[in-house]
């Protein structure tokens, strides 16, 4: 039994498994980007054979990145990472803490002539001078007497032995943060009409509602366009209140979310619904009235001519622009008809369409005629509403990873050795070095050190 556990432990701590797992996750991710996901998957599955659809659904291929098996793969990966790091960390810690071992004469064997120097000063004086010089340059400096003379040893970057573990730790913290976000957070949205307010958010993919714990009101929504027609600005002026107390007030824009009691609001979409129509009424060629018909109401014409009631309002009816359908009661006759804002253009480009149905005929209520001057619209703003308590953790994990990457790749462990020996009234000085990465930089450093010693 113990053996089996050990074998399993060994297996989980192997880099081979890590490489295999990462490769499998990579291939799965590729598949996930090639197959349509979520809503698009339904479209994709239409007209497929039954077995294909059931296999597709069984493997949860339409929501691959959140499927049970993909999550399990990520779980195995994390386990592998934990076991592997746990197993190897003590060795790395030892390397990090290990004091310099004297007696590494072999290191000096390869020192080229340029790394040797003879000084006139006495041995004790030189030891003192070089120790001071090294102390200025390196983190840890030690002086030891050895058989061949005195050894001054300096090093920096020992922390790089732990770099990989800091990276791996960072990855685990990111995963933990992502899980915290999934379990303790929510993702939702709200649509708020200008001037109105909400107290709950709809959760995405129809999972119900989430009470906010306060009231969010949209005071005003503004959209601006460039001359090219591209959007320039989406802005919602928001007020957040609790009871009578105003908690916060401000402008919400894309890329500038607002946060309140841990809930973040993002500008994400907008829309409008028609609120009222401004109509001009003619009798014969004469303008007899300008009226405003609210979307759910009616307007009375002056002089007992009748009344106009709104039936439908469309911001863009069949690509013909703004239009309203009204029920006009004129001189006792009731007529349902559409009124277009761009009647002249429609007449010019598509005259046939006006004869397709009686309600489209602009002359239906003669001698009365109508013109739509303007459709008053009311904007609503679409906000994304999230709470993600895991996000700070993800940020911390990312910083850890960056720190670990720096340590591993740009701040390797470097040791510099200076051997001093008394020689014909003077001192002979020999340099050597050792690094766990990038010998080129080490050589450059040693040449610099030599220059400093000589000067």
């Amino acid at each position: 039994m113990q053996n089996k556990v050990n074998a399993l432990w060994q297996y989980f701590s192997s880099i081979k498994l890590a490489i295999i797992l990462i490769a499998i996750i990579t291939v799965a991710s590729i598949i996930g980007t090639l197959l349509p996901q979520q809503d698009a998957a339904g479209e994709f599955l239409r007209d497929r054979s039954v077995w294909f659809v059931s296999l597709f659904n069984f493997l949860q291929l339409g929501n691959l990145f959140r499927s049970v098996w993909f999550t399990a793969l990520l779980g195995l990966f994390s386990l592998n990472l934990i076991v592997c790091s746990w197993n190897r960390f003590p060795a790395a810690w030892k390397l990090f803490r290990r004091p310099f071992q004297p007696g590494r004469e072999d290191l000096f064997r390869d020192s080229p002539q340029a790394w040797r120097h003879n000084s006139q000063a006495s041995l004790p004086a030189e030891v003192k001078r070089i120790e001071a010089l090294m102390k200025r340059k390196y983190r840890r400096v030690a002086v030891r007497e050895t058989g061949g003379g005195t050894l001054v040893h300096g090093e920096k970057g020992a922390l790089s032995y732990l770099g990989a573990y800091i990276i791996h730790g960072g990855i685990l913290v990111i995963i933990a943060g992502a899980l915290a976000g999934i379990f303790f957070g929510f993702k939702g949205y709200v649509n708020i009409m200008e001037g109105e307010s909400v107290q709950v958010a709809q959760l995405i993919s129809g999972r119900g509602v989430q009470p906010l714990g306060f009231t969010a009101r949209c005071d005003k929504f503004i959209v601006e366009f460039y001359e090219t027609g591209q959007p320039k600005l989406f802005r919602s002026d928001m007020t957040f209140t609790k009871g009578d107390k105003v908690l916060a007030q401000g402008a919400l824009r894309v890329n500038h979310p607002m946060e309140l009691e841990g809930i973040r609001f993002y500008q994400s979409s907008y829309g409008s619904i028609p609120e009222a129509a401004q109509l001009i009424v003619y009798k014969g060629d004469r303008e007899i009235a300008r009226i405003r018909v609210p979307a759910d109401g009616q307007a009375v014409l002056p002089g007992k001519a009748g009344s106009v009631k709104a039936l439908r309002m469309e911001a863009n009816l069949m690509e013909m622009g703004p239009a309203v359908k009204v029920q006009a009661t004129l001189d006792g006759q009731v007529k349902d008809l559409w009124i277009f804002q761009y009647l002249e253009e429609i007449r010019k480009h598509n005259p046939g369409i006006l004869a397709m149905a009686p309600a489209l005929n602009p002359d239906l209520a003669l001698p009365y005629r109508f013109a739509l001057e303007k459709l008053e619209e009311r904007y609503y703003t679409g906000l994304q509403v999230n709470r993600d308590p895991g996000a700070p953790l993800v940020g911390i994990g990312a910083l850890l990873m960056l720190y670990g990457l720096m340590l591993t790749f740009f701040y390797p462990h470097r040791q510099y050795l200076v051997r001093l020996a008394a020689e014909n009234n003077g001192t002979s000085i020999t340099l050597a070095g050792k690094t766990n990465k990038d010998p080129v930089v080490l050589k450059r450093d040693i040449i610099k050190l030599m220059a400093a010693i000589k000067s």
Partner: protein, 280 residues
């Protein structure tokens, strides 16, 4: 002369630089190498000038933004970073052979930007989602990473050529004699991958920060994000294979090529996948 004209000129200068570097290896005379160096430096200076000019021009148009926000500009910046890294390398290693293998990447990126009819080179104002400093940082870090991976890939190609030549005992002759020793290209391949990996990591992080402030979600498995993660995984495999399992040489060179294919797909291929949005 507006900035796009200058970029077109730069494209041809890079093409000529490639020919000069190639001529050096074929003819075996360093003269052509020197011409190549001068040519690519001229191209780079003009490239830098045109980039700055485009920046200034955007202010004259009343738009005022860093030229790093559409596909055209990203290609131009990609090529610029590749050439910058190459110039540093040529200066540090005093070797021009890499020029033959790296300049084609810069040329192709520029040619794609300036010659393709589907790529809009106009300076356009930014839609709200793109109005973010994080976007700028994101683009810069990503493309430094991509350029470093380009270096890694070019080194992998040089390694494979040289190792084939050695097998056929051609290494001492003509063109092949210019290829650096195997250890050198192996080491530079690895260093390119390391630099690329660090910057890709930064790129993914800054992209996530941008997404978090624009859409409220730092990760949503959108195809572009997923492919950047795939690329990141491939290079993570490369780093582990080398550091922990001691892979060197051919295997590593091939891994660098696979990684680079993934980089190109992340950058260019993703737009052809089913998905919600492509940023560039």
């Amino acid at each position: 002369m507006d900035n796009t004209m200058m970029f077109s000129v730069v494209t041809f200068i890079y093409l000529f630089s490639f020919f000069f570097y190639l001529l050096r290896m074929i003819s075996g005379t360093e003269f052509w190498g020197r011409i190549g160096s001068w040519s690519i430096m001229t191209g780079f200076v003009l490239h830098t000038f045109a980039f700055s000019y485009r920046w200034v021009e955007s202010y004259d148009l009343g738009i005022g933004r860093v030229p790093l926000t559409n596909f055209y500009e990203s290609l131009v910046f990609f090529a610029w970073t590749i050439v910058l890294i190459y110039l540093i390398l040529e200066w540090r290693t005093k070797s021009r052979t890499m020029g033959t293998f790296i300049t084609p990447f810069a040329f192709v990126a520029m040619a794609f930007a300036t010659l393709s009819p589907n790529i809009d080179s106009r300076i356009q104002p930014l839609i709200p989602a793109l109005q973010s400093d994080w976007l700028t940082i994101h683009v810069v870090t990503c493309f430094i990473g991509y350029a470093a991976f380009t270096l890694s890939c070019a080194m992998g190609i040089m390694y494979l050529l040289r190792s084939r030549a050695e097998k056929k005992s051609l290494a001492g002759r003509g063109f092949y004699s210019f290829l650096p020793a195997l250890e050198v290209s192996d080491e530079l391949n690895y260093q390119g991958a390391v630099l690329g990996f660090v910057f890709l990591t930064l790129g993914i992080m800054t992209g996530s920060i941008w997404a978090y402030s624009a859409w409220g979600s730092y990760w949503s498995w959108d195809p572009k994000e997923t492919w950047s993660l795939i690329t990141w995984f491939i290079y993570a495999i490369l780093l582990h294979a080398r550091f922990v399992r001691g892979w060197r040489g051919k295997k590593l060179a091939w891994l660098a090529l696979v990684g680079y294919a993934s980089v190109l797909f992340t950058y260019l291929g993703v737009n052809y996948l089913p998905g919600l949005h492509s940023y560039l």
